[in-house]
């Protein structure tokens, strides 16, 4: 293996954190818009996203592949087998997770915070500020879940990234490739790194959150 594990790890972190960040930002925007909708409509949209959480990543990978295929609608952009293609795919994988994990809290806290802000003689424009602060623990968990889902998926990274060494190889594809050629030792090492990243991030955020954000 010519590419170092560090290089693959850094690429994985970069690709998945970018995808999770975009999914997270869109999930906040969607939540803010839907929080104004009648409860029944909001519940319906939530139900759709909850169903999307379970969609296999290979199906999402296939969908993105068809979009980016040279003769596909976005083929002219020549993004297939690039890190950007993985970002797009992982974004689609992470979005339902980010949205479903934050929306219910968003909806339930919004009314209470609005009441509080108005009761203190402040205008509705202050609601967002207080709401975001109240939601900090939920948003932190939501980003973490989106990131974990993105960095741990294989289907998208393999189908639209191709696991090209030195270019689109990420931790999950590297494990798959190493296993397929019988290099179990390296596959296990990379697997442990992936495990360390997700668990340590969760622990750091939990400790940091309890001291600062979640008090």
């Amino acid at each position: 293996m010519s590419e170092s594990i560090l290089s693959i790890t850094l690429r994985s972190l970069y690709v998945s954190s970018t995808a999770a960040l975009i999914a997270f930002a869109l999930a906040i925007a969607l939540s803010a818009i839907l929080a104004r909708a009648p409860r029944k409509r909001a519940e319906m949209v939530l139900g759709v996203f909850e169903a999307l959480v379970g969609v296999p990543t290979t199906v999402i990978g296939l969908f993105v592949y068809m979009l980016l295929y040279p003769h596909g609608p976005l083929g002219f952009m020549r993004l297939l087998y690039t890190p950007i293609a993985i970002v797009i795919g992982q974004f689609l994988v992470a979005l339902p997770m980010a949205f479903t994990s934050m929306f219910r809290s968003f909806y339930e806290l919004k009314e209470g915070v609005r009441e509080l802000v108005l009761s203190l003689g402040c205008s509705e424009k202050h609601t967002t500020k207080v709401l975001l602060r109240e939601l900090a623990p939920v948003l932190t968990s939501s980003y973490l879940l989106a990131f974990s889902r993105a960095i741990g998926e294989l289907g998208v990274a393999l189908i639209v990234g191709g696991g090209i060494e030195g270019y689109t190889s990420v931790l999950t594809t590297a494990i798959a490739v190493r296993t397929s050629i019988g290099d179990y030792e390296l596959a296990i090492q990379i697997g442990l790194i992936l495990l360390c990243i997700t668990t340590s991030l969760a622990l750091i955020l939990k400790a940091f959150g309890e001291r600062v954000l979640w008090r």
Partner: protein, 220 residues
């Protein structure tokens, strides 16, 4: 602050009315007490008076101006004079102290240590200052939400069931403060089941609501 309700009706679901044709004037400073059984519309009326709810029908006239006819900026400006304290305290994450200062922070008003110190000492909140709100008792949470309202020094202070969860001593201190606000030219509206003796003594008017209508008004 003068608030007049002219033929005010309010419904949450479009079918049943919590308020039915309320005509009420809170003229000048003083303590006004709203009483009535559960479901009589006290909280809804208090929220209409506090400019938090736009009634389904009727007018809310504040100092001679129809409040809901104003634009958003003018409404925001008038709202700054009014504070409503919920029956179930709404506190945000953080310490009791953070919650005490919340209203001042949101308004961008400088937090006056003297003023906060005064209330902290008066209501015995010193030990609670740094405590996370998740560890407050119901009475402590209620007290924090009441003092948060008092700190804003509103021209109109509306309190929904303020004596629930408060011990006798704290309730008496609160009545003292409400009377003080009224003496200083403020308007205080209290919705309560429990007519504290001191509250009755210092009130200007007791209004009884039954089934969304004013059943009785008694000048004290």
């Amino acid at each position: 602050m003068e608030v007049k309700l002219v033929d005010v009706w309010h419904s949450y679901d479009g079918f049943t009315y919590a308020l039915k044709g309320i005509n009420l004037a809170l003229e000048g400073p003083g303590v006004y007490v709203l009483t009535g059984p559960n479901g009589s519309g006290k909280t809804t009326l208090l929220k209409v008076v506090s400019l938090m709810i736009r009634p389904s029908r009727g007018e809310v006239v504040v100092d001679g101006v129809k409040f809901w006819g104003l634009d958003e900026n003018e409404r925001s400006s008038l709202r700054k004079s009014v504070v409503y304290v919920h029956d179930k305290p709404i506190l945000v994450r953080g310490s009791a102290r953070y919650n005490l200062e919340l209203g001042l922070r949101l308004r961008g008003t400088k937090v006056s240590e003297d003023s906060i110190g005064h209330y902290i000492a008066k209501y015995g909140l010193k030990d609670l200052e740094g405590r996370p709100v998740s560890r407050l008792s119901a009475g402590q949470a209620k007290l924090i939400s009441i003092v948060r309202g008092l700190l804003l020094r509103p021209r109109l202070l509306a309190l929904d069931e303020p004596f629930t969860f408060l011990d006798g001593a704290k309730a008496s201190l609160l009545v003292e403060d409400l009377a003080e606000i009224a003496r200083g030219g403020g308007t205080v509206v209290v919705a309560t089941h429990y007519m504290h003796k001191g509250l009755r003594d210092c009130s200007k008017q007791v209004i009884e609501l039954i089934d969304g209508e004013v059943a009785q008004r008694e000048e004290i």
